[in-house]
């Protein structure tokens, strides 16, 4: 092992931990807030059972607007908001704030699109049996779309693994931060190669797990 790598090994473990922490917070926010938002977006949409063109238009616009920010701009623009929420603008928890804010509309859109693949007839049959909107969400939409939702979450995880690397710029820490500070600024190519290799392994792992779960959930 090269001396460069041995020197950063203790930091490497911290960095991996920070990356996973940022990813964990971001994904949790995406699922807990973005998921319901996506379901709402679907139900309010044209031709759906809670169709409300005005409200749909507002939420749709909001989702698009947040998603149109380049992530690095969002990161900087949100600093005051981050201070308010996390108490600081530095560190992985602080970086998780803009990360979450970007992940929520991202996942909402993925959920909305996935739910559109549920056949209308199945939803209609549930209505004909007297199901309420909430029962349709829980017992029809989430059941029929579950493998698509897992794949959506997989896509989200991988996108936000690389977003979390950008968060290093504002002192978020993490693997990406390590790659920039040692691999790029100090020209330590071996460190760069190692960090990229770790990211490659993580991405493959996430995709493999996601595909496996989705396949097992899909009985169609």
């Amino acid at each position: 092992m090269s001396p460069n790598i041995i020197a950063i090994l203790p930091e490497l473990w911290t960095a991996i931990g920070q990356t996973l922490l940022m990813l964990g917070i971001g994904l949790a926010a995406a699922v807990l807030l973005g998921g319901p938002l996506g379901v709402l977006l679907f139900l309010l949409g044209p031709g759906q059972s809670l169709e409300r063109p005005a409200l749909f238009g507002v939420i749709n616009w909001l989702v698009n607007t947040v998603r149109s920010f380049p992530f690095i701009i969002l990161l900087v623009a949100l600093v005051p908001f981050t201070r308010l929420i996390a108490g600081t603008s530095i560190g992985p928890v602080a970086a998780a704030v803009p990360l979450s804010l970007a992940a929520i509309p991202y996942f909402a859109r993925l959920v909305e699109q996935t739910l559109r693949d549920v056949p209308r007839g199945v939803i209609e049959a549930a209505h004909a049996m007297g199901a309420s909107e909430w029962q349709i969400v829980r017992r029809v939409l989430l059941v029929e779309a579950r493998s698509g939702l897992v794949l959506g979450l997989t896509v989200l995880s991988i996108s936000f693994l690389s977003y979390s690397a950008v968060a290093g710029v504002v002192g978020g820490g993490g693997i990406g931060d390590l790659a920039i500070r040692y691999g790029y600024y100090r020209f330590q190519t071996d460190v760069m190669v190692l960090t990229v290799a770790i990211l490659i392994v993580l991405v493959q792992l996430i995709q493999f797990t996601g595909n496996g779960i989705a396949r097992r959930l899909d009985k169609r």
Binding site: A125, A128, M129, A131, E144, R146, D218, K219
Partner: protein, 293 residues
């Protein structure tokens, strides 16, 4: 074929027959001056159903036929208010469906089973969970009761051995029979069927029609079936209404004989009359052959 006026008891599978039901001659479904128009993308409106009044007697198997676009599916969907009528009143049993609030409608829908051309089963749920669905959403029943009722209904359609399968593992006819079991689970009074055999081949169509006939005979459930297949009407229905351009053009008993049969006004009505004559001749020939042999 049974007589269209036969009074059929309304006994549900596990319940003893209700005493008042046997003498009942009330209509299971009654429509009074019902209309429905749709707004088309080009801004015009399309009158799908125009001022239709219709009565389906308790225990009947009632066919609703017509060419595509005649409004028969829309009419069916007005009954459980999957489409809301623009005007007119709908009664199922003694209940005025058109007067119900949202929550009352959800409760009332338990007494109106519905099956569809595309079956509309949950693909990611087992046969058991599909049939249990309507019971669980109105969950006053405990899980033991749900389990018993699901088994009863699957037994009725002859698919008890498929209880743990997923719909993807079943044939089209089996899927439709699961859908029938699902529709019957909450003990409905009426079964609304929207082109139930149109996605099936003739072999599986027969199994589904047998199941529907059996359900009607054993449970006394009133069946209203929308179809464009005259063979289905001949094989299953006692009464039939022909729709043309959003209106009921005529209504008659499927086994009607005599001069009235020759006075049908619609093409489909005349076609059914021709088929009846043909079947009569066929019967006579067979009887003659049997006598000669």
């Amino acid at each position: 074929m049974n007589s269209p006026t036969a009074s059929v008891t309304e006994a549900a599978a596990a319940n003893p027959p209700a005493p008042e039901a046997s003498a009942s001659t009330a209509d299971a479904i009654r429509l009074e001056g019902v209309s429905k128009a749709f707004r088309l993308p080009n801004g015009k409106t399309f009158d799908a159903v125009k001022n239709v009044s219709l009565a389906v007697p308790q225990g009947d198997i009632f066919g609703l036929i017509g060419t595509s676009g005649a409004g028969k599916s829309t009419l069916l969907r007005l009954i459980n208010r999957l489409e809301h009528p623009d005007s007119g009143r709908v009664f199922v049993g003694a209940r005025e469906i058109t007067a119900l609030g949202k929550r009352e409608l959800r409760v009332a829908r338990q007494s109106m089973g519905m099956i569809f051309q595309q079956f509309n089963l949950l693909q990611n749920a087992t046969v058991f969970d599909n049939v249990a669905f309507p019971l669980r959403i109105h969950s006053k029943t405990c899980s033991g009761d749900v389990f018993r009722r699901v088994r009863e209904c699957l037994d009725l359609v002859g698919l008890l051995d498929k209880i743990d399968s997923h719909p993807a593992q079943l044939s089209g006819g089996q899927k439709q029979r699961v859908a029938i079991a699902r529709a019957l689970a909450p003990r409905p009074d009426v079964l609304l069927c929207d082109e139930p055999t149109s996605a099936l081949d003739s072999e599986t169509t027969r199994s589904v029609l047998d199941t529907l006939r059996d359900v009607n005979r054993r449970l006394g459930v009133t069946v209203l079936i929308v179809t464009h297949e005259l063979a289905v009407v001949r094989a299953l229905c006692r009464t039939v209404a022909v729709m043309e351009g959003g209106e009921v053009a005529e209504q008659f008993a499927v086994d009607e004989t005599g001069p009235n049969r020759e006075r049908r006004v619609t093409a489909l009505g005349r076609e059914l009359a021709r088929m009846a004559v043909y079947a009569d001749v066929q019967n006579d020939l067979e009887r003659l052959e049997a006598a000669l042999a």
